[in-house]
């Protein structure tokens, strides 16, 4: 009985433990994010929300300006000796005001379709 009591004491707090831990989420929670953003609950009317479909890292090479990294890779490696133009003022990086999100999962995309 003492052993049972001990095990019970041991296991009950695990329920709390798991509830407190960051449990692995399912697509339902992801769905709620997209739904909230799509419906606009708690989102300012001025906030524009859009999903991303493609992304290209932007690198810089000296004074040439921004180019996609596909082009920049080789030159970036050439610059790895550390002789990049240090006396040039770094350019301003613009940030879009659009709230960008990852594409919804296939499961959520199907959940949002009207029943046929």
């Amino acid at each position: 009985m003492k052993i049972k009591g001990f095990l019970l004491t041991l296991l009950i707090p695990f329920a709390t433990f798991n509830a407190n831990a960051e449990s692995a989420s399912d697509n339902a929670s992801a769905a709620s994010k997209h739904s909230v953003l799509a419906v606009g609950h708690g989102v300012a009317s001025t906030a524009q929300v859009a999903s991303a479909v493609a992304v290209v890292p932007l690198a810089t090479i000296g004074s040439v300006g921004e180019v996609s990294t596909q082009a920049a890779n080789g030159l970036a490696k050439l610059a790895s000796g550390g002789n990049k133009a240090k006396n040039q003022a770094p350019e301003t990086l613009k940030i879009s005001e659009i709230t960008i999100t990852a594409q919804r999962s296939p499961k959520e995309a199907m959940q949002n379709k009207d029943d046929i």
Binding site: T9, P13, S32, E97
Partner: protein
């Protein structure tokens, strides 16, 4: 309360602290208003941009801050890269894309590499607090090259452990993956044995302050706590130890913590 209850309580406290290192889940229910998350995410982006960061290490708090174990301030770490992003409409927008290692939703012992964006990254955070480590410009360029060449995918080991040992590649967590990509960029190598050799030689991991008994018991109840990759006291990579590593070798422009009110302090 008898002695056994007290012992059980102590044990649970230790395990709670241990699992607080977790935080690599992709999609958690929001704990803040959508507007707060949107505003905070955008302020983090604008802060990084104001520091001319084309690539930086980003951290979030995925557990209540008062439950974080000693030495751990952030529970999920990833690499943010300044990018041109094509939207569904076809329009182009500039901002940061985030390259993550996330635990799988239905199998916490496995992970995937996922690109998301700041509002996704902070959606399930427990606190509107961001960690921002800005490597030197030279390291940033190397990181961007590595990411665009797919190094982050090449170095991914999907076997997940919350307290993965960075000295070997038996398991990986988000922070170790970030360190691997960082070292691949610095040494211009995707050879895992080279990367691990440099980590063993130059990187100081964080000791996990939980006893072996608690770790063993924790492993029974939590799929993502695995210890077979460790000898002796478990040691793992944290957001802060990455900052210390870059700082030690003069490869850092700055390391910051941004609070919800916009206040920025040094890490």
């Amino acid at each position: 309360m008898n002695l056994l209850n007290i012992r059980a309580l102590c044990l649970m406290c230790g395990l709670l602290t241990l699992n607080a290192t977790a935080g690599s889940q992709q999609s958690q229910p929001a704990r803040f208003e959508a507007n707060q998350i949107i505003e905070f995410s955008k302020s983090v982006e604008k802060f990084a941009a104001s520091k001319h960061a084309r690539a930086f290490i980003i951290g979030r708090v995925g557990q209540p801050e008062n439950k974080l174990p000693k030495g751990i301030r952030f529970t999920h770490t990833a690499i943010a890269v300044y990018s041109q992003i094509q939207l569904e409409s076809g329009d182009l927008a500039n901002g940061y894309a985030i390259y993550n290692l996330y635990q799988q939703a239905d199998n916490p012992k496995r992970s995937d590499i996922v690109i998301d964006y700041p509002v996704d990254f902070f959606w399930g955070a427990q606190a509107m607090t961001a960690g921002v480590i800005i490597p030197s410009q030279q390291v940033q360029q190397a990181l961007i090259s590595a990411i665009s060449e797919g190094v982050h995918i090449e170095l991914h080991n999907p076997k997940y452990s919350v307290i993965a040992n960075p000295n070997n590649n038996k398991y990986q967590n988000c922070t170790e993956h970030t360190l691997n990509v960082l070292n691949a960029a610095i040494y211009d190598s995707t050879d895992m044995s080279t990367i691990k050799q440099t980590i063993r030689q130059y990187f100081q991991p964080q000791t996990v302050h939980v006893s072996g008994f608690k770790l063993a018991l924790g492993g029974l109840f939590s799929d993502d706590i695995r210890t077979s990759d460790h000898k002796g006291k478990p040691r793992t990579v944290t957001f802060s130890t990455i900052a210390q590593y870059l700082s030690q070798y003069d490869l850092i422009d700055g390391a910051y913590v941004m609070a919800q009110n916009g206040n920025v302090t040094q890490l």
